[in-house]
């Protein structure tokens, strides 16, 4: 019943710790203009704007889309603001695609951003409220116990996380937009970096970045006329579950397993590891690569670490993961999910430059958020579904 939808334009800013040269409107407009240029269209062609970002407190503006209307060419158009915790970038892309798939619009601009330098994310995540217990842990403190749980049950070698961190930073050196460009990255350097939240070391953690990512989604009619390659949306899926309840597995939650199974079913995929050529997975702390390889049903339970260990997830492996350098190399939080979606689309369009996987025809984009409880994913392909 749904109409076909294709990604015809992608634009990203350079990711760095503080973009002091631009305001928030300047930041989002930079990404949006690049996406329009890639799509070969103008502001006038855009029928609706969908914007996503993580909590408003990260910049201290309530519903910032309202003041960003002009910067995003949204005046006298429909504008939606999505917020689904860390998965928001992915969800924003899915909402934008839905507007085309539902036949409501022909061209939709989707933008996600974060300007972390204008506030303090760990503060914003740690506010003590009068009626609930504050964890005052930030994200790293929250996720470290889940990683320890994973290591205990899988028996993964303790240096698995270090290997992920090295691999993703090496990939980032091939992506000029990536925030971290660590020329001297090495196993020893990561292993010797300070332990922040045991077992997560400083260099196994994502940076705090400013940045924006934009995409233009188009109907089949419009996409068929594009001269540049199109990434076709094959399937999208989302799942959420509450943060805490008795019996919940927080390490590999049921929401990720249900989400993966439904996504592959919709995309007609039965052997994901073989049928998907590469993946951009939301890995804010190194250990989440093996965890999500299991959570996304790419490999058997307790064996995700083997993929990392054997080099399967490297750029030249059989299932490359985070070719762009991933969240470990650039993390404008609200945009990080959309960057995964955009980078997966770049791969199947063959436009990923030095971090291109040869012959990528089908790619997975993934985002998660909250206490490992929000999942949004998609499959894009170089051919129509």
């Amino acid at each position: 019943m749904a109409e076909l939808c294709g990604v015809i334009g992608i634009g990203q800013t350079k990711y760095q710790s503080a973009r002091k040269d631009v305001s928030m409107p300047g930041l989002v407009r930079e990404a949006a203009e690049r996406a329009l240029e890639d799509a070969g269209c103008t502001w006038r062609d855009i029928e609706a704007v969908v914007i996503g970002k993580a909590p408003d407190m990260f910049e201290g503006v309530m519903m910032p889309e309202l003041f960003l209307v002009d910067a995003l060419g949204g005046a006298y158009k429909p504008m939606l603001r999505v917020h689904t915790a860390g998965s928001v970038g992915g969800s924003t892309g899915i909402v934008a695609a839905s507007l085309v798939q539902a036949g409501v619009h022909e061209r939709v601009l989707c933008v996600a951003y974060e300007k972390q330098s204008e506030s303090n994310a760990t503060w914003a995540l740690s506010i003590a409220l009068p009626f609930s217990v504050a964890t005052v842990a930030g994200a790293g403190g929250y996720f470290a116990p889940l990683v320890r749980g994973y290591i205990r049950r899988s028996g993964a070698p303790e240096d698995t996380g270090i290997r992920v961190a090295v691999k993703d930073r090496q990939n980032a050196l091939k992506n000029p937009l990536a925030h971290l460009q660590l020329e001297d990255i090495s196993f020893e350097k990561v292993a010797n970096s300070p332990m922040l939240w045991d077992p997560i070391r400083y260099l196994e953690t994502c940076p705090s970045s400013d940045g924006a990512c934009a995409m233009v989604f188009a109907s089949e009619r419009v996409a068929d006329r594009q001269s540049k390659p199109v990434a076709w949306v094959h399937a999208t899926e989302m799942r959420s579950e509450p943060t805490m309840f008795s019996g919940r597995d927080q390490v590999i939650p049921r929401a990720t397993l249900d989400n993966a199974a439904s996504l592959y079913k919709k995309a007609g995929i039965t052997k994901p590891r073989e049928e998907i050529d590469c993946a951009e997975i939301y890995v804010p702390f190194s250990w989440f690569e093996p965890m999500w390889m299991e959570g996304m049903l790419i490999t058997e339970r307790n064996e995700g670490w083997k993929m990392t260990y054997e080099g399967a997830t490297a750029l030249d492996g059989d299932f490359p993961v985070n070719m762009s350098g991933g969240v470990l190399s650039s993390n404008p939080i609200g945009a990080s999910g959309l960057i995964r979606f955009a980078e997966s689309a770049l791969q199947v369009r063959g436009l990923a430059g030095a971090h291109q996987v040869d012959g990528a025809r089908r790619a997975l984009g993934h985002a998660y958020g909250g206490g490992s409880q929000y999942f949004s994913t998609w499959i894009v392909g170089s051919a129509k579904p």
Binding site: M1, A2, E3, M24, P55, D56, M57, F58, G60, V61, M62, M63, P64, E65, L66, F67, V69, D70, G74, A75, Y76, K77, P78, M79, L80, R81, V82, H83, T84, A85, S91, I94, V95, S98, L99, Q101, A102, G103, V104, A124, L125, I127, L129, F131, S132, M238, R239, S240, E241, P242, T243, G247, R248, R254, D258, N259, G370, G371, Q373, Y374
Partner: protein, 350 residues
């Protein structure tokens, strides 16, 4: 367009200050009652979408706890907008149009009493230029009202009469917060709150939640005797800067109304969520409503204003008039941002 209808609606009472419960505790009974009324106690919805604001709760990711009101497993296909629940309903409607869902649960919730709302709303403005001056929400609306009065486009009496009408209608609404019989002449003798606005010109601050169920085609016919079919739904945003838009009309409401097809037939009932009397007048004009339309039978936003749920409640209230047969065509309106910056119009038919 796929046939999609509003088949269920529940709400909490609008309260100036909910003393005991947090946001999700206000929401839980609303959703439980809705599930019960439709026989959805065990069944899950194909899609769930909500609207709320972290800044009302004073907490990042405040909406996450809303999931506690849905239940634990199975995990739900779910999304959230940092907007009024009316826009969450729009997202759900889109998912149903693409054939992704046959049923959807939509909810909105907010507890603005925890902070100083008019000042909190100043955080919606340009953070580099306007917010540092802390223009509160009532003062911005007052500037707009002053423009309208000076241009002779509205009178203070007309504004007071809108408050009188809405408060009178609200007498029949057990969920409303401000209700009763008032006289315009005596309201006009009251002191000004922020000139030219008086207390009666401003919507109350309300804690509350509401929830709606949408269903498509035959599923809707199973769940409701007389489903309220969504014949058109559209929303439009304007630039925020007050100096670059015409504040004496609501251009975005006019555009959304046209897209939603409001003028294809007579409107029996309209439910408006304008938070100030002069804005209610502007919205009525933008929608082209005349004497034949019953406006705000629930009392509208001026009688109960649970931010982030108030627009969704208007859709629910309009649907109720379709269900009970008192209207065959109804319109609901939702707004967001300073001085009616963003507006949504939904046309329902029996």
């Amino acid at each position: 367009m796929r046939e999609v209808a509003v088949v269920g609606f529940t709400q909490s009472p609008c309260m100036r200050r909910e003393p005991d419960r947090n946001e999700v505790e206000i929401l839980i009974p609303v959703i439980h009652e809705l599930r019960k009324s439709l026989g959805f106690e065990k069944e899950s919805f194909d899609f769930v979408c909500s609207g709320s604001s972290d800044y009302l709760a004073g907490q990042s990711f405040a909406f996450v706890s809303g999931l506690d009101a849905i239940g634990a497993w199975p995990p739900v296909c779910e999304s959230h907008v940092e907007m009024d629940g009316a826009w969450a309903l729009y997202e759900a409607w889109v998912k149903m149009q693409m054939g992704y869902a046959d049923t959807a649960l939509v909810y909105g919730f907010g507890k603005p009493s925890m902070g100083d709302l008019p000042i909190t709303m100043a955080l919606q403005l340009d953070p580099y230029v306007n917010t540092p001056l802390w223009p509160d929400a009532i003062s911005l609306a007052a500037l707009q009202a002053r423009l309208l009065l000076d241009a002779g486009l509205v009178t203070e009496r007309e504004m007071a009469e809108h408050a009188v009408r809405d408060r009178k209608n609200a007498k029949r609404n057990p969920f409303a917060q401000v209700k009763g019989d008032f006289q315009a002449a005596s309201l006009l003798k009251k002191p000004k709150l922020v000139s030219p606005l008086r207390q009666h010109d401003c919507a109350p601050i309300s804690d509350g939640a509401s929830a709606v169920v949408l269903a498509a085609g035959d599923r809707a016919r199973e769940l409701a005797k007389r489903p309220a079919w969504i014949r058109g739904i559209a929303h439009i945003v304007e630039p925020q800067e007050l100096g670059v838009r015409d504040l004496t009309r609501s251009r975005s409401t006019e555009l959304a109304a046209a897209r939603a097809g409001i003028w294809k037939g007579a409107v029996d009932v309209a439910e408006l969520s304008a938070p100030f009397t002069h804005q209610e007048i502007l919205v009525e004009r933008a929608l082209g409503l005349g004497a034949k339309t019953r406006i705000n039978p629930s009392g509208g936003a001026l009688a109960g204003n649970p931010l982030m749920a108030v627009g969704l409640s208007r859709i629910g209230e309009a649907a109720r008039r379709i269900w009970d047969g008192s209207a065959s065509r109804a319109v609901a309106h939702a707004t967001s941002g300073p001085c009616l910056q963003q507006n949504l119009v939904c046309v329902l038919e029996g």
